[in-house]
Symmetry: C2
Amino acid sequence: MANQETEISKLGEFGLISHLTKDIKFNNSSTVVGVGDDAAVLDLKDGATLVTTDLLLEGIHFDLRYVPLKHLGYKSAVVNFSDIYAMNGRPRQITVSLGVSSRFTVEHIEELYAGIRKACEIYEVDLVGGDTSASVTGLVISITCIGVADKEKIVLRSGAKPTDLICVSGDLGAAYMGLQLLERENQVAAKAAPDFQPDFAGKEYILERQLKPEARKDIIELLAAEGIIPTSMMDVSDGLSSELLHICKSSDVGCRVFEDRIPIDYQTAVMAEELNMNVVMTAMNGGEDYELLFTVPLADKEKIEKIKGISMIGYITKPELGAAMVTRDGAEIELKAQGWNAF
Amino acid sequence: MANQETEISKLGEFGLISHLTKDIKFNNSSTVVGVGDDAAVLDLKDGATLVTTDLLLEGIHFDLRYVPLKHLGYKSAVVNFSDIYAMNGRPRQITVSLGVSSRFTVEHIEELYAGIRKACEIYEVDLVGGDTSASVTGLVISITCIGVADKEKIVLRSGAKPTDLICVSGDLGAAYMGLQLLERENQVAAKAAPDFQPDFAGKEYILERQLKPEARKDIIELLAAEGIIPTSMMDVSDGLSSELLHICKSSDVGCRVFEDRIPIDYQTAVMAEELNMNVVMTAMNGGEDYELLFTVPLADKEKIEKIKGISMIGYITKPELGAAMVTRDGAEIELKAQGWNAF
């Protein structure tokens, strides 16, 4: 611990919470009372309320050897915002619970909180409450996000219909390749001289996609501007294959996506090449992209084409046709679910 | 692992979630969409919205050697409801995030969930979402509760005024004495013959207060029936001393509570005696009582006296008088904050 760092025991639980939250300003008029009472008070009369929650555990979801705490805080908040956008809503408030072990100092937790607050600032979300606790094991971050939506414009996973177009924003697989890069450099560093510096030149994009992902607020706004309400929508957190299967199951439909339509960035392709990995499989199963996957009626095709950064990757079918990817040579590969299986 | 138990890897993440949540029924008309999409959808137009969150970590907040998983689930939910009642609100929805390590089976998590669902049933709350994750360390439970309240009847910690009466529901220290009992019997069991059975006869009350606490919904309803809106309120989770100091700080007031007015159950007193502990200190600092601590204007004294199960334990003073307990012999002992300090 560096000299200027402060042990958390100096502040104690209540001291730490008030230290971290003392100068929080609200972005939303619906936020009435924030941190500091038994519960936050919100006034959400302007539409339906959305709630989502994510639990991030050290050793499972992040590795502090190569994830800076500020980035981790930012990402922890953004992944929740992404779930709210995926309902066609706007995030408004979050609560943050932290479990912190004794190897962390006040400055460490400040860094983490700085990232969370930065994300709140950029996405105009209010931090309204939380819980801070000691942990005998690793760092635990649990964030719950409250959002609002026009009730008649909420988009579930269950509304996709045969012939609907399948669309995805941005590109896929970059975050996963960023993680592979970080793990490779970390292994090299472990064996190298103390002054070793990892070389990320030409790989900044995939690194940023892994360390500091963004939620696609812009896409939600562009769709609204074009008057498009998707028939179904999800964010891509576990991987495109897995999310497509969720939509097919919830909507009781099948799907076909085309290998040559999957959007992949140049840096993702280069990294996959270096690691001798199949880049399309990376994009299908990588996860953590936080892009939006959605379906629209065929009639919206021209409107979608007008929006930059959206790819039409396939179409919805009747359920009996199943879910498959059509390869460049016309073969069909059945999609498989991933999800964790760390047990 | 017994023969009939199921490894979690058999179901996987998505399988486990849908297995646990498949037959959930809603109690509240404000619950529109529950588990199974990116976010839950709530329609909360009937008042202000309350949000509270609690993080429970194995080894810090609970010890699975003597806490049955079903009780743990029940308690995890109830402590959140308690925070909503402490705002003079009604809990409506919860989200549940679990981090589960490989030593747990599907049946274990079912037990935990059964307790959570039992609490939801009794308090008429809907389980609307959550996250389930592998954990490389212990069990992690993060619950967020959404509630509603009439905006003009919300009770914060900050409204106590000099001369207000300080009231507390039920009795204090029992949950802490229940924990001491469990720890003692566990230590005895570790050294005893395999057929050892802990002896809890005559101590059922303190055991239940520790293992299966209830939130004081009844008190909130009784206060409303008498037309009483407290000037400040909190639930007693960290201990009476600590909560009194929170109210004094938030309201910028002082307080006097009287040692001989602190409500203590007979079993609590007997257990303290057995363990050679000061029973009043136990009641002041024990924590986990989940009773309601609140202040009312002096003019409400007669109405309060009509409600069974509420004790008037002192009064609010000007801030310069500080926060103190008046002992039986008239001496004043300054109140001290507790909170965790596991660092």
